[in-house]
Amino acid sequence: MDPDAGNLLDIQFQGIVVIVGNYGSGKTEVAINLALACRPKADAVRVVDLDLVNPYFRTREARALLAGHQIELILPPATYLHADLPILSPAVAGAIRGAGHLTILDVGGDDVGATVLASLADAFRGQTIQMLQVVNPHRPNTDSVPGCLAMRAEIEAAAKMEVTGWIGNAHLMEATTPQTVWDGYEFVAELSSASGLPLAFITAPGALIGALSDRPINCPVLPIQRQLVPPWLKAETITDGEPDEPGRAPGSI
């Protein structure tokens, strides 16, 4: 990271931000951390759990955390919270139409997950929207620029909306190193030039932020404090200042 390039951690968005990407690209973790990062300077932040295809590890698992930061989370009705059905609450269209300062839509994976966006076309009409595609080059099918572009085309066709920028989310969970982040940055920078779409930001594990200063990263960096963890790990603590070290050693069986 280039220390003279201003506060690269200062990420601010307004309006409607739609987070899309392939399965397991990290959309939900990005959506939660982005909402928390934007909250201190935003009048109101709202997150819409639009993941209708994934049965586990959804935004709804972080509802207490988001509520604690006065971030509104739009979910299916409580009765259907564990339903194995794609339930689209009417509150979603309402949240889009009445979008306040910042509304983040966490969409399900692949073109299948993005299909729901097409059904919300009326609500989106006339609004300014950023649709950002999350890319982790360590995931199958998005480990190459053509792979990412193919995924983009499939998502756009299903969503009937266009991707407007990229989020670089290169990581290998607890095996992530600074090199993973640097290589991921170069990958997504290349993707940005190949596609002509801007690189909105990259992510890095909160605990590694301090170790990234040896090489230039010329885009904002969103520190990630993992929230969607399996039961033998603790979610990382969200703070307004320096990120904490992870609470527990990663499971290693």
Binding site: Y56, H82, P140, P231, I253
Partner: protein
């Protein structure tokens, strides 16, 4: 290929391909549907076959047919789907065909729920179908171990000419971890010409191989069952697997736990150690054959006051733990099976409570 970040379900599909299995028949069900989704793309890329059956009953017999021809074949499903395949599992086992079945368990009984569970322990280890048969049952605790077990399952199935069941809970299928695919686990099939209905080929004997599960002659059927029993006894002698954790020093309690549940227990054991309370764990990696000797020895260690089976089921493993320990110490149970996974703190309280009581 270096490390990639994969969902358990995707990694299971890729591991099967890497192991040389190019035949996959399945029917989607949460929480394992991503295997089918992943392989619908990948099987096409590698020239393999993915056929979605009209039901799990049909899938079971597709497996039987392909396995009987000597093809490497596997399926994946989740609890209710495995129930529907149980008839075929009995037939396949009787006919001695190697095949791999993966069960990414969800809460039951009945339709239950879609969250993680270990409620199919009895079904997997004691037979969900009819007759005297056993499956070779492996239980991974991580996505990497699921990869390894799937790759090893094919040669094990061929060694015993018996189906292998990989028993994972919903978390194994749904969570993401970095994985590698070890090249050294790729083993070519060796014995199929001796039994598979793959044509007479160059065999000198002109009597064809026959794959069947019908034995109307009672003497013949009894002999067949004795031969199957000898095979299950051989599994017990040659292929028991387990991991021992914190068993080197003295300890006051022994946990027996498998799958992702054992990872929660491991975290609890680490925290209890910080408090000065030593607890050990035996993690069965094979549920059949069960690591009886390892559990018996660990429970019989001086100072071990109690053994506790910790499961995401209502005590289904307890009888195997009791049978192994043979009264060397009291055996207790703790678990949940609605889809909630017990936390490390709960496990710590349970162990402390049992030692006080």
């Amino acid at each position: 290929m270096g490390k990639v970040l994969m969902k358990g379900n995707e990694a299971i599909g890729e591991a099967a391909i890497r192991a040389g299995c190019l035949n996959y028949f399945a029917y989607p069900i949460t929480p394992q549907s991503e295997v089918a989704e992943y392989l619908s793309r990948r099987m096409d890329e590698v020239g393999g076959v993915f056929l979605q059956g009209e039901s799990e009953v049909a899938v079971g017999y597709m497996i039987f047919g392909a396995a009987g021809c000597g093809a490497r074949v596997f399926t994946t499903s989740s609890s209710p789907g495995i129930s529907l395949m149980s008839e075929a599992l009995s037939y396949i086992t009787c006919a001695q065909c190697p095949a791999v079945f993966v069960n990414i368990m969800r809460g039951g009984p009945g339709l239950g729920g879609i969250l993680p569970s270990q409620g199919d322990y009895f079904q997997a280890t004691k037979g969900g179908g009819h007759g005297d048969y056993r499956l070779f049952v492996m239980a991974p605790a991580s996505v990497q171990e699921a990869v390894q077990m799937v790759m090893e399952a094919f040669p094990i199935a061929e060694k015993y000419r018996n189906p292998v069941m990989i028993l994972g809970d919903g978390l194994i299928g749904q969570m993401m971890e970095p994985v590698e695919f070890p090249e050294d686990l790729v083993v070519k099939p060796t014995n199929k010409d001796e039994w598979a209905t793959n044509g007479i080929g160059n065999r000198s004997d002109d009597s064809p191989n026959l794959v069947k599960s019908l034995f109307l002659d009672p003497v013949q059927l009894n002999s067949h069952n004795l031969m199957l029993k000898a095979k299950y006894d051989r599994m017990r002698r040659e292929d028991v697997r387990y991991e021992a954790y914190n068993t080197d020093g003295d300890y006051r309690a022994l946990i027996v736990s498998y799958g992702t549940m054992s990872r929660v227990c491991r975290t609890a054991i680490d925290f209890l150690k910080e408090e000065g309370l030593e607890v050990a764990m035996i993690r069965p990696q094979t549920l059949f054959p069960f690591p009886e000797e390892a559990v018996r020895d660990a429970a019989g260690k001086a100072g071990c006051q109690v053994a506790v089976s910790i499961e995401m089921s209502m005590g289904q493993m307890v009888e195997d733990v009791e049978r192994s320990i043979q009264g060397r110490c009291p055996v207790e149970w703790y678990g949940k099976c609605g889809g909630e996974v017990p936390t490390p703190e709960e496990i710590m309280d349970v162990v402390r409570g049992m030692l006080k009581g």
